[in-house]
């Protein structure tokens, strides 16, 4: 397993050293959070009803932002080719890259989400559900992002195509994510049906996305 974690560690070190991938995602997240009330109006009660959905959409866009940097640098400097010659199958390489992307951008945002939700006057009862839902959901987001990055690696204007490819795949994560956050009927029961379905989506993409991503990378190689 050290091979797997050596790749995850290297990718994390690279995102932190080169202009902070996580910092960029957080900056983008904050910027979108500022624009929403300015556009929709400062009425707190209205914003409160809006908050879970707005936070989830902002998370989706923030994760999407750094997607094309998952495979592109390795493709450009020839590392990707050598990775196919390593002892570890390409599927696990894709999984390692998704995990690194998740730990770098998705997870920090998910943990900060309640704090940032304060800006949208998020109901404090929702702090627990939204953090749990976002932690689970952001894993699925990173896995699907990795798939999109693998499909568009090496293509000109790959960044544009990625959003068209992956956003439709993000729809179920968004629906069940917001539903899981809003599943609060009085007492926030954390493990309602939506949360379980959200977890199911994450686990399914944990298995399927790397396989598809590896196939896509192989298609690019030959």
């Amino acid at each position: 397993m050290t091979v797997f974690w050596s790749l995850v560690r290297r990718d994390l070190v690279l995102t932190l050293r080169q202009g902070g991938g996580a910092g960029m995602a957080l900056g983008f997240f904050l910027t979108v959070l500022v624009l929403l009330p300015l556009g929709i109006g400062p009425d707190l009660n209205f914003l409160q009803r809006l908050a879970p959905g707005a936070l989830w959409i902002t998370l989706l866009l923030s994760v999407l932002l750094s997607t094309d940097r998952i495979f592109a640098p390795d493709y450009e400097d020839g590392s990707l080719e050598l990775m196919t010659m390593g002892p570890m199958p390409l599927e696990l390489v894709a999984l390692a890259k998704s995990v690194a992307h998740w730990l770098g951008t998705g997870l920090p945002l998910a943990i900060l989400a309640p704090g940032l939700g304060v800006l949208l006057n998020l109901d404090t009862l929702l702090f627990g559900p939204i953090m749990l839902a976002m932690v689970l959901g952001s894993l699925a987001l990173s896995l699907l992002a990795c798939l999109g990055a693998a499909v568009t690696v090496g293509l000109r204007r790959g960044g544009m195509i990625i959003s068209l490819l992956i956003l439709p795949l993000y729809v179920p994560v968004l629906i069940f994510g917001v539903a899981a956050t809003n599943s609060v009927t009085g007492v926030p029961e954390l493990f309602g049906p939506s949360m379980l379905i959200l977890t199911a989506i994450s686990l399914a993409s944990l298995v399927l996305a790397p396989i598809a991503a590896a196939a896509a990378v192989r298609a690019h190689m030959t």
């Binding site: 790749l7 400097d77 020839g78 080719e81 030959t222």
Partner: protein, 191 residues
């Protein structure tokens, strides 16, 4: 690309690929490394355990150096060693850097290195992780004479230890190759 090509390379031997540009030298090396498909014919590796592909038993060095500029020289080598399943101590890394006299630069970030130094860093990766087959595509490009001599030493050490070497080059690598293949006169069209 090319057809009617067949060759065998025994242990401890080298095969030199010659021929003008565009006759498929690089493609042959990439196919051997597993990056391409062959229409007919087969590639076999006798005497090795079966499930590993040729690529997983080989080192491939193309025109790119596969180096991360943000990482330091030592971090680059440590990563590749760990990724290829071999944990290495920093002293072994220092020795391998010494083989291409880069040992004084181990803590510098790879981005500061010149093209020649980056090439030597990529070459030092070959001996760091021991693999029987070396697929080198014009390894001496960008190297000064002193570094070419170091490269020749590394290649001869590899073959002496029973490794296989398949290399394409336009300049003299300072090695005598037992068998050569000229892809030019094999009807290799410049595609």
């Amino acid at each position: 690309m090319f057809s009617g090509l067949s060759f065998t390379v025994a242990q401890g031997e080298g095969l030199l690929l010659e021929g003008p540009n565009g006759t498929g030298k690089t493609s042959l090396l990439r196919i051997l490394a597993g990056f391409g498909a062959i229409e007919q014919g087969a590639l076999e590796l006798k005497g090795a355990d079966e499930e590993l592909t040729i690529g997983q038993r080989a080192h491939y060095l193309g025109h790119q150096n596969a180096l991360k500029l943000a990482l330091s020289v030592e971090e680059n080598l440590t990563f590749w060693a760990n990724f290829m399943g071999q944990s290495v101590s920093s002293s072994t890394i220092a020795d391998h850097l010494g083989a291409f006299n880069l040992e004084s630069l181990s803590s510098y970030s790879a981005g500061l290195l010149s093209a020649g130094q980056k090439r030597r860093l990529a070459l030092s990766r070959l001996e760091l992780v021991s693999r029987p087959i070396w697929l080198l595509d014009e390894p001496s490009v960008g190297l000064d004479t002193a570094s070419c001599a170091l490269l020749a030493d590394a290649m001869s050490r590899h073959m002496a230890a029973g490794g296989l070497l398949i290399a394409s080059t336009h300049t003299d690598l300072g090695l005598t190759f037992k068998n050569k293949v000229n892809l030019g006169d094999l009807g290799g069209r410049a595609t």
